[in-house]
C-alpha cells in the first residue's frame, strides 16, 4: 500500500478551495469577535443538548486568550489553540494572496500531509485529548468550559 493511499491530504484541499477558505476566515473572525465581546457565538449542539463538551469546546476562548498574549490560560483552556491559530493564519494567507504565490505553499502542505500523515496525527491527537479530558478530568473539564 502506498503512502498516498495511507495519508490523504485534508488541509491542502481546504487551502486550494478559496471560496471555502474565505468563508472559514470570515466565520472564524466573526466567532472570535463575538467571543471577545462576550456575545453568544456559534453554539455547540452537543453541550447544549447533552451537557457533554465537544472536542472543539473552549477553542474560541482559548484562541482569544492566545491573541491577547495569555498563553498559559489559552493552553489550559484548550491545548490545540496554537494549532488552530496557525491553521487559520495559513488559510487566510492562501485565501488573500495571489494564486501563483501560494501554489508552492499549498503543494508543500500537500506533500507534508501525504508523507507524514500530519493531519491525521493532529486530528487523532485532538480526539484523544478530548477523550482524556472527558474521562479522566470530566468535572474539571466541564467546569473549565463553563467558566
Amino acid at each position: 500500500m502506498s503512502r498516498t493511499i495511507l495519508f490523504p491530504p485534508l488541509f491542502a484541499t481546504i487551502l486550494r478551495d478559496r471560496k471555502l477558505g474565505s468563508f472559514i476566515c470570515g466565520a472564524a473572525l466573526l466567532q472570535l469577535l463575538l467571543t471577545l465581546f462576550g456575545l453568544p457565538g456559534w453554539p455547540c449542539p452537543l453541550i447544549h443538548a447533552l451537557g457533554i463538551p465537544c472536542p472543539g469546546c473552549g477553542l474560541s476562548r482559548a484562541t482569544v486568550f492566545l491573541f491577547q498574549g495569555h498563553v498559559k490560560e489559552a493552553v489550559t483552556l484548550h491545548a490545540f489553540a496554537p494549532v488552530l491559530v496557525l491553521a487559520l493564519g495559513i488559510i487566510t494567507v492562501c485565501t488573500l494572496a495571489p494564486r501563483q504565490r501560494i501554489e508552492r505553499l499549498v503543494t508543500g502542505t500537500e506533500t507534508l500531509e501525504r508523507y507524514t500523515g500530519l493531519t491525521i496525527i493532529l486530528l487523532s491527537g485532538l480526539i484523544l485529548y478530548w477523550l482524556a479530558r472527558l474521562m479522566i478530568l470530566q468535572a474539571a473539564f466541564v467546569r473549565l468550559i463553563q467558566s
Binding site: I24, P40, G56
Partner: protein
C-alpha cells in the same frame, strides 16, 4: 416548557449536523467527515457551500432555522445547557 423546546431544538441541530457529516463522509472522505464532526461550524459552512450539489438544501435550511430559534430562545429564556450558563460557545 422553554427547556423542553430548547432540548428539542438542540437535538434537531445534532441530527442535522450528523446528516451533513454523513454527506461529507460520502462526498469528501473520512478526514473531512471527522473534521466536520469535531467542528460543527466547518460542517455548517461546507453544507451551505455544497447544498445544491449534494442535495442537502432542505437540511441546511432546517439547521439554520433551528440555530436561529435556539438563539432567540436563548435570549428569551436563557435556557440552553442543563446546569450551564447560556453563553457557552465552542
Amino acid at each position: 416548557m422553554l427547556g423542553i423546546l430548547g432540548m428539542v431544538v438542540w437535538l434537531g441541530c445534532i441530527i442535522c449536523l450528523i446528516m451533513v457529516v454523513i454527506k461529507m463522509f460520502q462526498d469528501k472522505g473520512a478526514l473531512h467527515g471527522i473534521l466536520g464532526l469535531i467542528c460543527g461550524l466547518y460542517a455548517f459552512i461546507w453544507g451551505w457551500l455544497n447544498a445544491d450539489r449534494v442535495g442537502i438544501k432542505n437540511i441546511m435550511m432546517i439547521w439554520s432555522l433551528l440555530i436561529l430559534i435556539s438563539l432567540v430562545l436563548g435570549f428569551v429564556g436563557g435556557f440552553s445547557i442543563p446546569g450551564m450558563t447560556p453563553s457557552t460557545t465552542p
